[in-house]
C-alpha cells in the first residue's frame, strides 16, 4: 500500500462557502486519473468523512485529470465545534489514504 499523496500531483481542500468543503485531487496524468477515479469511490470517501451519502458529491474533470469531492461540513464553519476555519486541512485525510501499490 502507498499513500495517495505519493501517487498524485496535488491535493487541496477549501471551504466553498460556510456550509461546504471541496477537495480537488489533481492526478497529473491520464493513467493516474483513470485509476484514482476508480479507487476513490463515493462509498470509500463517505467512510473517510463520515458524512451521509446524500451530502457528498463526486465530480470527474477529465480535461484536468482531476477527481473532486464536495460535501456538507459536519461542523458549519466557525461553529463551536469547528476546528478548521478554512477547511484546508481536511485534505490531509485524502493525502494519507492508503492506495494499493500496483496503482502507483
Amino acid at each position: 500500500m502507498t499513500k495517495l499523496v505519493d501517487i498524485v500531483e496535488k491535493i487541496r481542500s477549501k471551504n466553498a462557502g460556510p456550509f461546504w468543503i471541496t477537495v480537488d485531487i489533481f492526478c497529473g496524468d491520464p493513467e493516474t486519473f483513470a485509476s484514482i477515479r476508480e479507487v476513490l469511490t463515493v462509498c470509500e470517501v463517505q467512510k473517510l468523512l463520515k458524512v451521509d451519502i446524500q451530502c457528498l458529491k463526486k465530480f470527474e474533470i477529465p480535461d484536468l485529470f482531476v477527481v473532486k469531492f464536495s460535501f456538507h461540513r459536519r461542523e458549519v464553519q466557525g461553529s463551536r465545534t469547528d476546528r478548521d476555519m478554512h477547511g484546508a486541512q481536511i485534505a490531509s485525510l485524502f493525502s494519507e489514504l492508503k492506495i494499493p501499490r500496483e496503482l502507483s
Partner: protein
C-alpha cells in the same frame, strides 16, 4: 470593441506587485476591480462588522490603487468592503478614501453600495415566502430572523452596474459576489455574458489563476465571444491548465457557478494558449434563472467564550490522555452542578487535544503517541462573566486532575498567567438562503457623494 478589467489582487490587504500593476496600467484598462472580503475568515467579521486586515494596510494599498486610477482616469471598484461587506465597513472604506483624497488633492465622485438587510424587510420577505433555502440550510423563522447581528445580501452585476451608472470614480460596494465587480462593466458594455462571469471567476483571486499566485495582478479582456486572461508580472504565466483549474477553487461544483439572476455553465468552455503567458477562453454559457434572487449571509451571537490552555508532558498522562480528558470532563460537570447549580445544557465545553487530533477530531486516523499534548478548553456560556467563572472553576482541575483517584496530584504546564483568555462574543452562521427580488435594487441602496479637494 472589448472591455479590459485590471485586477490588482485577490483581496485588498493581501498585497500586490507594484511593477505588475504599472505594467497593467500600460494596457489602458477600462476599470480596476478588487475584492475586499468573503466569509472565508469565519463568522466573527460579519457579526461584529469589522475587518480582518489592519487599517494601515488597507490605506497603503488603497492609496496606490487610487493613484493608479487617477493616472488613467477610469473607475475603481472594491467589492465586499472590509472583509464582511456590512454597511459600516462601506463607511470605513469611505473614510479611508476621503483621507487619501485629501492627502493627494484628488477630487472624486464616490458611490457607496449598501447591502445590509433590516429585520423588517427580511420578515416581510419570509412571510411572502421569498426566502428560499439552499442546500444545506439551517431552519429559519421569524424569531431567528430577529436574532441576527447582521444580514447582508450579496450584490451581483445589476447593483454594481447601477453604481457605475452614477458616474462614480470610485465605487465602494458592500457584500458582493466575488465575481460581480469584475463582470459588471463587461456585461454593461454588451460583451458575452457567459464569458464575463467566467472571466470574473478566473480573475477573482488575482494571479491565483497563473503560475505565480503572489504576484497578484491580472488583466482580463472581455469581448463578444469570450475573454483572454494574462498575468501582469512578467515572470508569471497563465496556462490553459492554471486557468481552467481555478474554476474548481472554493467552488462546490466544478462546472457551474451560481450568481444572482442565473448561473454560469463552463462544461463547453474551451481554453487555448494564445501566447506563452496568455489564455483565450470561449464557449462559456450563462443560464438565466426564471426569478431574480440574491444570496443572504447572516450570523447570530450564540454566546461568549473563554479559552484555557494547559500542556501535558508527563509520559503516562500523554499515553492515557483520552481517559484523562473524559474523567476530567465528568468530574468538572458534577462540580459545576454542585457549586454553580448549572445543568450541562447551560454551557458548552470543548476539549481540543493539540498534537493528537485537534484539527480533525473524530475523523483523525493517526494514533501516534506524541511527546506532549496541548489541552485547549473552550467554554461557551450565555455571558462573558459566566464563561470566565466556569473557566476559573475548572482551572485547578485542568492543572492538577489525577488519572487515578488515589494518586498524588500532578501539576501540568500552564503557559500563561492567567491560564484563560476571554474571547468575547461567539457568532455562528445561521442562514444559507436566497431571497427573491422583483427588482434587483429592491434591497440595496446607493449613496453618491463628491469629494472636492482643490
Amino acid at each position: 470593441m472589448s472591455t479590459k478589467v485590471l485586477v490588482p489582487s485577490g483581496v485588498l490587504g493581501l498585497g500586490f506587485d507594484s511593477l505588475a500593476l504599472e505594467n497593467g496600467l500600460s494596457y489602458k484598462p477600462d476599470i480596476i476591480c478588487i475584492d475586499g472580503g468573503s466569509t472565508d475568515s469565519g463568522p466573527f467579521y460579519l457579526g461584529s462588522g469589522t475587518s480582518k486586515y489592519a487599517r494601515d494596510v488597507y490605506k497603503a494599498e488603497w492609496r496606490e490603487l487610487m493613484l493608479a486610477r487617477k493616472s488613467i482616469n477610469v473607475p475603481l471598484i472594491i467589492g465586499s468592503c472590509g472583509t464582511c461587506g456590512v454597511d459600516c465597513m462601506v463607511d470605513f472604506m469611505y473614510e479611508i478614501t476621503a483621507e487619501i483624497a485629501l492627502e493627494l488633492g484628488q477630487s472624486i465622485r464616490v458611490a457607496q453600495l449598501y447591502c445590509n438587510q433590516s429585520v423588517n424587510y427580511l420578515t416581510q420577505a419570509f412571510e411572502a415566502k421569498k426566502i428560499i433555502p439552499l442546500d444545506p440550510a439551517p431552519d429559519i423563522d421569524q424569531t431567528k430572523i430577529s436574532k441576527f447581528s447582521n444580514v447582508v445580501a450579496l450584490a451581483g452585476v445589476e447593483q454594481i452596474i447601477e453604481a457605475i451608472n452614477t458616474g462614480a470614480d470610485i465605487i465602494l460596494a458592500g457584500r458582493s459576489t466575488d465575481t460581480a465587480s469584475i463582470a459588471a462593466l463587461p456585461i454593461m458594455n454588451g460583451e458575452n455574458i457567459g464569458g464575463a462571469w467566467h472571466g470574473a471567476k478566473i480573475a477573482e483571486c488575482g494571479a491565483f489563476c497563473s503560475t505565480s499566485p503572489t504576484s497578484g495582478v491580472v488583466l482580463v479582456e472581455f469581448d463578444k465571444d469570450g475573454f483572454s486572461v494574462e498575468p501582469m508580472a512578467l515572470d508569471a504565466r497563465c496556462t490553459p491548465h492554471s486557468v481552467s483549474a481555478h474554476m474548481l477553487y472554493e467552488n462546490a461544483d466544478p462546472f457551474l457557478l451560481f450568481e444572482p439572476g442565473g448561473y454560469l455553465n463552463v462544461r463547453n468552455a474551451e481554453y487555448e494558449a494564445t501566447s506563452e503567458r496568455k489564455v483565450r477562453v470561449s464557449g462559456s454559457e450563462w443560464e438565466k434563472s426564471e426569478k431574480y434572487s440574491v444570496k443572504l449571509e447572516g450570523v447570530i451571537p450564540v454566546g461568549y467564550q473563554t479559552v484555557s490552555l494547559v500542556i501535558v508532558r508527563d509520559e503516562r498522562y500523554v499515553e492515557n490522555i483520552h481517559r484523562w480528558v473524559s474523567n476530567l470532563e465528568q468530574f468538572i460537570k458534577k462540580k459545576i452542578f454542585d457549586i454553580m447549580k448549572l445543568p450541562s445544557k447551560d454551557y458548552h465545553l470543548d476539549f481540543r487535544l493539540i498534537g493528537l487530533n485537534a484539527v480533525l477530531g473524530g475523523l483523525e486516523k493517526k494514533e501516534n503517541i506524541p511527546t506532549e499534548i496541548g489541552v485547549q478548553l473552550v467554554v461557551t456560556a450565555d455571558t462573558q462573566t459566566k464563561a470566565a467563572e466556569l473557566s476559573k472553576l475548572i482551572n485547578p482541575f485542568l492543572l492538577h486532575h489525577p488519572l487515578e483517584e488515589y494518586e498524588d496530584y500532578p501539576t501540568f504546564a500552564f503557559p500563561f498567567s492567567p491560564a484563560q483568555i476571554d474571547r468575547g462574543i461567539h457568532y455562528e452562521f445561521g442562514i444559507n438562503h436566497v431571497m427573491i427580488l422583483e427588482d434587483p435594487m429592491d434591497c440595496f441602496k446607493i449613496k453618491v457623494s463628491e469629494m472636492i479637494n482643490d
